[in-house]
């Protein structure tokens, strides 16, 4: 369990699955991806009434409260789309924890006011962190750092916007980096692990469709051909939780994924 040091009077802990699905279904036609959701939990609401923080508003941004949500999914393919849709449906800055089996991911964005309708918001600069494994007894440094970044008692801010920006910037250090499937297979070959060991069985690879850019830099559309990618932390977790692979890694005195990538020549 992730200990975020949230005061009891900020905890909401309500299941809002049906409300979210109804809300999103009312505004979209392609809602098949919503069937991936197991549950949506409204964990906490950080607002001026219960904290010493003031709300923030200027011409482009409105940060009244921060909502902390946790969604559980049974397949991971559409988590980015699901997260983005939820962030668009809820007009508050959101810290979104995505749970898939025993692993978590944080989704964050910088919402700005929509110029068309001030009651809506536009999602900008959205990113996802690495998968992290809070329930593991010996968690990796990345997991430990992400959990530390989610500890609200570490932040000393004057308003809601500052708090959200601080969390956003801290977690930006753990924005997910992906390895291509080819790279992960090369690592296996370098370590001398046969493919039949199925080391990457616990990983959650994603399909990445490279974007076609407009002249001004905006994404016009995406190519139909995709590349399968693996989250770097996810790969390290898989390698260290496979006995065969772990023995080899220990023998070679490799202590983290970065040194593994460096040693194997993938950097």
């Amino acid at each position: 369990m992730i200990n975020m040091n949230i005061k009891d009077d900020m905890l909401v802990n309500r299941d809002i699955t049906s409300a979210v699905i109804n809300k999103v279904s009312a505004s979209r036609r392609d809602v098949e991806f919503l069937s991936d959701i197991d549950s949506v939990l409204w964990v906490a609401s950080i607002r001026p009434q219960e904290t010493q923080l003031s709300s923030f508003e200027d011409d482009t941004r409105k940060y009244e409260e921060i909502q902390l949500l946790e969604i559980s999914v049974h397949t991971y393919e559409n988590i980015y789309k699901i997260s983005r849709t939820i962030m668009k449906a809820i007009p508050y800055p959101i810290i979104l924890l995505v749970r898939y089996n025993n692993k978590y991911k944080v989704m964050l964005s910088k919402p700005i006011k929509s110029k068309r309708d001030y009651d809506e918001q536009v999602i900008r600069s959205m990113y996802q962190t690495y998968w992290f494994f809070p329930d593991e007894p010996n968690c990796s440094p990345v997991t430990a750092n992400i959990i530390k970044a989610l500890d609200f008692s570490n932040y000393d801010c004057s308003n809601i916007f500052d708090l959200h920006t601080s969390i956003y910037n801290t977690l930006l250090n753990y924005q997910a980096w992906f390895l291509t499937q080819a790279a992960t297979l090369r690592i296996l070959r370098w370590l001398g692990i046969p493919r039949k060991e199925n080391v990457y069985l616990t990983c959650s690879p994603i399909k990445y469709y490279p974007p076609k850019y407009k002249a001004n830099g905006y994404v016009l559309e995406r190519y139909n051909n995709y590349v399968i990618q693996y989250d770097k932390e996810d790969v390290w977790y898989a390698l260290t939780h496979n006995e065969y692979a772990k023995n080899i890694i220990d023998k070679r005195r490799i202590y983290n994924i970065d040194s593994l990538l460096f040693e194997s020549g993938e950097y």
Binding site: D9, R14, I16, A19, K62, E64, P91
Partner: protein, 236 residues
């Protein structure tokens, strides 16, 4: 000084006029005006969604259809005739006959003990809550529709100055002169549960609209948060 006071009064009056004609929260001088917007917004939303009801109406819509002014006028009239009601004890009840529109049940008038925060800023009668529970425990009219409920009470009671002795007798016999109020108590619990349920639904709705969420506002735990002001027993 007099000139200043006159000017202040004039500006305040103008402000009040602008608030009455606009959508609320336009009075920058008066801090108490805050929160008015929420139920006005709900009214407008309701108007937007319930077009059929409005079309069904024979007459034109007046501002009286949206507010509770007519009931205030009734109340003023009553106070003029019978004096102030501050001395009336809590827990009084009346028994009235059921009609087609008003099925058998109980209308509870409750007061929230913790009145520092208006729940959702939507209950126009805050800190008072009125709920109409049918005798089967289903809610006929919840606390967010005070206009509809007051209309029902008015239709049940207006014009009757004397108690319905036969109904009162039947109710007293059922409750053994008020000694066995188990049935009414269970309906009271259902009424309070409905307030909590409506609040929960409203809290979740507040997440999808800007202006602040209400999930952490004034958490209602149950029976002990309310006191019973009075109730109407609607009997067949």
């Amino acid at each position: 000084m007099d000139e200043y006071l006159y000017l202040k009064g004039r500006v305040e009056t103008r402000m009040r006029i602008s608030v009455m004609t606009a959508t609320g929260d336009d009075d920058l001088i008066n801090a108490e005006e805050k929160g008015d917007l929420e139920y006005r917004k709900a009214q407008l939303k309701r108007l937007q969604e319930e077009v059929v009801d409005i079309e069904d109406m024979q007459s034109v819509i007046s501002i009286m259809d949206l507010g509770l002014n007519e009931f205030r006028l009734d109340l003023l009239e009553y106070i003029k005739r019978h004096g102030d009601m501050d001395t009336v004890p809590y827990g009084l009840h009346a028994v009235v006959p059921a009609t087609e529109e008003c099925p058998p049940g109980v209308v509870f008038v409750l007061k929230n003990r913790n009145n520092s925060v208006n729940i959702d800023k939507q209950n126009r009668l805050h800190p008072f809550y009125m709920v109409y529970v049918g005798s089967d425990g289903l809610i006929v009219c919840d606390h967010l529709s005070p206009k509809e409920l007051l209309d029902k009470i008015r239709s049940l009671c207006k014009g009757y100055n004397e108690p319905f002795m036969d109904l009162c007798g039947a109710f007293n016999a059922e409750t053994k002169d008020g000694k066995d109020m188990r049935q009414v108590s269970s309906l009271l619990t259902a009424a309070i549960n409905s307030i909590i349920k409506v609040k929960e639904e409203s809290d979740i709705d507040s997440l999808f609209r800007p202006g602040g969420t209400t999930a952490l506002d004034n958490r209602i735990c149950g029976l002990e948060d309310f006191e019973l002001i009075c109730f109407f027993v609607v009997k067949l």
